[in-house]
């Protein structure tokens, strides 16, 4: 299979292999030698696989693209739930408390603004929300997140995250795929490619209510990886989560008829295969129909919330109020995780983009997600799942401490923002890194989006430099040629 773009962008710190002299130099360079030989070994391994990789065959447990695979090293988490806040929540109004920003409200930003800004910004805008410290850990949380404030001792804040691009589309692609200007596999695709899944009757990567804007499907696509690792959407943004479903999972005929249809089909397909002779893809095709049938019985059970107790529904805020939609998403995420799905994403649709109306907008948004998020963390914990489930919360970027369009808005800010993680091997009740005094730039212990990717992979037991896929001329990885694992946040 060939792909795409094998732009060797900033490919590697290895010596180029051009001439015999280059070659020898590369081999004598210590680190260069190891990496170089590893590269060759990979290449040799990757080559024979190339012809085969044209035909990926689905199969039962033990074979097939979703069969569980052994990680590179002992994993701290077995599954990921990514709570994505589309639009860019403001760090300085939520978890990154900046006393100087409050003090200097209305004054010009004393530092220099970025070379490229999404739009013009004005003077500093103090947060309209009060902050207080919570829990044993004393984490600062604004009054926007009263429920999350109660579980801070289970959370690990990264306050020095930074990305590359201040536009939504490019930033979404960056946090989902590591690349803003090429179509690359999504983080969930890489992880299921690396680890397979624990349930062969469900997709390994499920994305609940994903958006079609700002990169759309490319945010959960497998790109050049085999199609089995493509994120499977469960509903779409804009449609209530209560109406969400997998595509084509409902038979339009009595089950007995479909079973008879499948039996007939299997007989006809076997006869066809016998005429041609053994063929892996024809055999795989027969098995795929059986798997489809099994999925049809598994999926409705997993996605049916009726089995949940009234107490649980209440906890997630599934009560017809503002928390209804994201509450459902979070509860579904727990159920998919329980069923063995490797990577689940929930998307709180494009609401956090408060260039204006910050007070109203952020209040409403936070109200919709605060209770469900806290419920998910608590629920996972009480079920003993938090220790091996990695929960990740964040947006595509943060917002500027300076105002925009009057005194009730903030612009995009990819230079410093906050994500939090929970469970799956991260330090609970911990905060890592810091932005400058006003919250504009990541300043201490900076964590780039690539570093976050490397760290999430590491928590899953994957070495981000070794999880590669050969495509049109070179090996690719989620972190391209970047990424540093942030060991300091690991428990």
């Amino acid at each position: 299979m060939t792909d795409p773009r094998e732009q060797h962008r900033m490919c590697t710190n290895r010596e180029p292999v051009g001439t015999r002299r280059d070659m020898l130099r590369a081999c004598c360079a210590g680190f260069g030698q190891t990496a170089f030989l590893a590269l060759l070994a990979q290449e040799l391994l990757a080559r024979p696989a190339r012809a085969d990789s044209r035909t990926e065959v689905a199969g039962g447990a033990g074979s097939g693209p979703l069969a569980p695979r052994i990680p590179h090293f002992a994993p701290r988490a077995k599954r990921v739930i990514f709570l994505f806040m589309h639009g860019g929540p403001s760090q300085v109004d939520t978890f990154d408390y900046k006393p100087l920003l409050q003090r200097d409200h209305g004054k010009p930003f004393p530092g220099s603004k970025p070379r490229v800004q999404f739009a013009e910004t004005g003077n500093l805008l103090g947060s309209p929300w009060k902050f207080a410290q919570h829990g044993q850990s004393g984490a600062w949380v604004s009054e926007l997140f009263p429920h999350v404030a109660q579980v801070v001792d289970d959370l690990c804040f990264v306050k020095s995250l930074h990305g590359s691009n201040p536009a939504h589309g490019a930033a979404l692609l960056k946090i989902h795929t590591g690349s803003e200007n090429f179509v690359r596999p999504s983080m969930g695709s890489w992880i299921t490619y690396g680890l397979g899944s624990e349930n062969q009757d469900l997709p390994g990567f499920v994305t609940i209510s994903p958006t079609l804007g700002h990169g759309g499907v490319n945010n959960y696509s497998s790109a050049f990886l085999p199609a089995a690792y493509h994120g499977t959407p469960f509903g779409v943004t804009g449609q209530p989560a209560s109406k969400a479903e997998f595509a084509h999972m409902t038979a339009g005929m009595p089950q007995g008829t479909q079973r008879a249809q499948l039996d007939l089909l299997r007989e006809l397909n076997r006869e066809h295969m016998a005429r041609i002779g053994g063929d892996a893809s024809l055999e795989g095709r027969i098995e795929a129909f059986e798997l489809a049938f099994r999925m049809q019985s598994e999926a409705p059970w997993v996605t049916d919330l009726k089995a949940e107790s009234p107490r649980t529904l209440e906890m997630y805020g599934i009560d017809g109020g503002p928390t209804e939609d994201f509450g459902r998403q979070c509860l579904l995420a727990r159920r998919f995780s329980e069923a063995g799905v490797r990577f689940v994403q929930c998307t709180h649709s494009y609401k956090w983009d408060q260039h204006g109306d910050l007070r109203k907008g952020h209040t409403q948004n936070a109200r919709e997600v605060d209770k469900p998020i806290a419920a998910l963390v608590r629920d996972l914990k009480q079920r003993g799942m938090l220790e091996d489930t990695l929960v990740v919360w964040g947006g595509e970027f943060g917002r500027t401490p300076a105002s925009q369009g009057g005194e009730d808005g903030r612009d995009h800010n990819p230079h410093g923002f906050t994500w939090f993680l929970a469970g799956g091997g991260v330090k609970p009740g911990f905060s890592f890194g810091a932005t400058d005094d006003y919250g504009w730039y990541a300043a201490e212990e900076k964590v780039h989006v690539h570093d976050m990717h490397a760290t999430i992979l590491a928590l899953m037991g994957i070495d981000h430099e070794r999880l590669t896929y050969w495509s049109a001329g070179r090996e690719h990885r989620l972190t391209d040629v970047h990424g540093k694992v942030v060991r300091q946040i690991m428990a």
Binding site: E56, V183, G215, L265
Partner: protein, 697 residues
């Protein structure tokens, strides 16, 4: 790692790095078909090369496939559609010695042929009807490029012209001739169709990234080389330096591709007519507009005079100045004439033009446009990739694209003909002589039959880049006509079938699966050309609340359905469609459960099964089984049998075996409680879901 392995690996790398000896950059060798001991199998030169390769491995070719199989193979390969039952019957009965060649000619002459082969090239050209990437706005005129491709393949446009038009059509003399200007400009859409970061706030980066995208698609499509690797550093494996990159990037940087880079940026479109014609049109509109204005002014004066007369109670006839009236009438006639002489606007097409001021680009450290630039690199091409073929000089004030087109289509260019011929082979056989059609570099595949590749490339150029001729050579060869059955002895020696001891069976592509379902059900609308995209030009096709303006319900050939980046039609995405954001040379063919779910539960397949069942019922009414009618022993007593036979002929071009007949009857009997229509629809759906329907064997 053991030392011996390390040594071996190093040796491999050294051999790889030996750019001087790499096969694809050396001139195309003048090879002759080898002598083979037993030449009775060979039908043309291709077969002698293939037979010699088989003999080297101690293999024998497979027997010729059945007539039915051959026609199905040819029909899918040349038109992307299955043959009709009538076509199969006619071909099976045609005893003329050239029946096969006649079938080939008939298929090549079908409008469906251009549709099929245009789609192949669209993968390479990363064709789409929307931008994708960050802001998914519509390219509402992209379809004109697609329709030009269909015409080009149906008209057997010589491939050197095909290439020249896509790289520099706007600069060719054809662009100045009324009858050829539209195609010449339309073809350059190839350079514009790429995805761009339309909301990129850093405008300089926006332009550098789009130039990079052009370098990427250009170099992969025609040179099978990833030149864009060298944006940031010298190519790791191939002799393309960073200076080479900036030399070729300068050519595209000296070309205007965008109408505007202000957020949200817009791609450039040009009126598909010669420049002077466009100017004449503009003047005709100016004349009509000013004549209309003159008449309006005169009429206003006249009516104002009339109004005054009425206001003052004088007779209008007296008050109105007769001269003014005559004058107004004259102006009206003039305005009408000018209106009639308005030259209608030609359609606009995605296109490029040479920039007002060409530039040589400076080499930027690590490809970062903000990093201190080095000295300017004169525009040019990577010399190592085309030994002995000169480039330029670039005419003063020109971008260099015309020189680039000349360089590419120089008959001595080692890569271009080889690359194109290999793509054609790949599309016929499902795999190229070189297995990586867009990577002929040191890390790409090696030709399985290097002498054959060179022979084909030379012959192709000598024939005037005649694609039809190449198709005929390939599909009439004995190698192409082999049966697909796996033979144990050959499987043991060459399981991958690189030596071509049989036809490799393969699954149809997404579009052909859908087209086949529609063809079998009888729903397929064969209208050629046009657009199904309803979105206004540069309007958003998809948005963040998941609205998607693209519609896929039309029963047209899949080629004509909108290609929306970021939100591919789910049917296509499920069946390994191309990634239309990048140049793709070979599609994967996966087998996954969602494909099965699509065949089982999608409204599309269910509806087509129903439609087909209804059509079958009309064509083959089942006589109510009369209980007292004598049943002939030799005849199937099953009243459904005739209809099952008809279904098999329509879907597979053959009769069902007794077992298949029995299985069908048993299924229908078991589902009788659903009623005839529903039972037949379920049966028809099972046939549409079979492997046989979607396998080219």
């Amino acid at each position: 790692m053991p030392a011996s392995l390390a040594t071996a690996l190093v040796a491999v790398a050294l051999a790889r790095a030996g750019a001087d000896s790499h096969w694809s950059w050396k001139p195309v060798a003048a090879t002759a078909p080898p002598q083979v001991a037993d030449d009775r199998w060979s039908r043309n030169e291709i077969d002698r090369f293939i037979r010699a390769g088989l003999a080297d491995k101690g293999l024998e070719p497979s027997p010729e496939a059945s007539r039915r199989t051959l026609l199905r193979r040819l029909s899918f390969d040349l038109t992307g559609l299955p043959p009709t039952a009538a076509q199969v019957a006619a071909f099976e009965q045609d005893t003329r010695p050239d029946a096969y060649e006649r079938a080939v000619e008939e298929l090549l002459a079908s409008p469906a042929h251009g549709e099929r082969w245009a789609r192949h090239w669209m993968d390479v050209a990363r064709y789409a009807d929307s931008n994708g990437l960050d802001e998914n706005t519509a390219f509402a005129n992209a379809w004109r490029y697609r329709d030009w491709l269909v015409r080009a393949f149906n008209g057997n446009l010589p491939i050197d012209r095909f290439i020249r038009m896509q790289v520099a059509g706007d600069l060719l003399p054809d662009a100045q001739r009324a009858e050829t200007a539209a195609d010449s400009l339309t073809a350059t859409g190839f350079l514009v169709l790429g995805p761009k970061v339309l909301a990129e706030p850093d405008k300089e980066k926006l332009v550098y990234d789009l130039v990079d995208e052009q370098v990427d698609v250009f170099s992969k499509a025609f040179l099978a080389e990833s030149v864009s690797c060298a944006r940031c550093h010298d190519h790791k494996f191939d002799p393309v330096s960073q200076a080479d990159y900036f030399a070729i990037a300068g050519i595209f940087r000296s070309t205007d591709t965008m109408a505007s880079v202000a957020t949200v940026a817009r791609a450039l479109e040009r009126e598909a007519s010669p420049v002077d014609a466009a100017e004449r049109r503009v003047r005709s509109h100016q004349r009509a507009d000013s004549a209309r204005a003159a008449y309006s002014a005169a009429e206003w004066q006249a009516s104002a005079a009339l109004q005054r007369a009425l206001d003052h109670g004088t007779s209008p006839a007296v008050a109105m100045d007769p001269v003014a009236r005559i004058e107004a009438a004259g102006l009206l006639a003039e305005a009408q004439a000018a209106e009639a002489a308005r030259i209608p606007a030609e359609p606009f097409v995605l296109s490029v033009r040479d920039a007002a001021k060409p530039v040589d680009l400076a080499l930027h450290v690590r490809g970062d446009h903000t990093k201190a630039p080095g000295p300017a690199i004169p525009r040019g091409v990577p010399a190592a990739l085309s030994q002995g073929v000169a480039f330029g000089p670039i005419a003063g004030g020109a971008s260099g694209r015309l020189a680039l087109a000349d360089w590419l289509t120089n008959p001595d260019h080692p890569l271009v003909a080889r690359v194109f011929v290999n793509r054609v082979w790949h599309w016929h056989f499902g795999r190229g002589l070189v297995e990586s059609p867009s990577d002929f570099g040191t890390r790409g595949g090696r030709p399985s039959h290097p002498e054959l590749l060179d022979w084909l490339a030379r012959d192709f150029v000598a024939s005037g880049w005649d694609l039809r001729r190449l198709h005929r050579q390939i599909v009439t060869s004995a190698a192409y006509r082999q049966a697909s059955a796996a033979r144990a002895d050959c499987m043991a020696i060459d399981p991958g079938n690189r030596s071509l001891w049989r036809w490799t069976p393969r699954r149809l592509e997404a579009e052909a699966i859908r087209d086949t379902v529609l063809a079998v059900s009888g729903s397929l609308d064969r209208t050629v050309g046009g657009t199904l995209l309803k979105t206004g030009n540069f309007d958003y096709v998809t948005n963040d609340q998941s609205a998607n303006a693209a519609q896929y319900g039309a029963p047209r050939r899949s080629l004509y359905l909108p290609v929306i980046r970021n939100a591919i039609f789910p049917f296509f995405a499920t069946f390994d469609y191309t990634d239309p954001s990048v140049s793709i040379d070979a599609r994967p063919s996966t087998v996954i459960a969602p494909q099965a779910l699509y065949m089982l539960n999608s409204p599309f397949v269910r509806e087509e099964a129903k439609a087909w069942a209804a059509r079958l019922r009309e064509q083959v009414p089942v006589a109510p089984a009369a209980a007292d009618a004598p049943v002939l022993a030799s005849r199937s007593p099953d009243p459904a049998a005739d209809r099952i036979r008809a279904a098999y002929r329509q879907a597979f071009g053959r009769s069902p075996s007794e077992r298949e007949l029995g299985a069908g009857s048993a299924f229908l009997a078991s589902q009788a409680s659903l009623g005839e229509d529903a039972a037949w629809a379920a049966y028809a759906q099972a046939l549409l879901a079979t492997s046989e329907l979607v396998t080219i064997d």
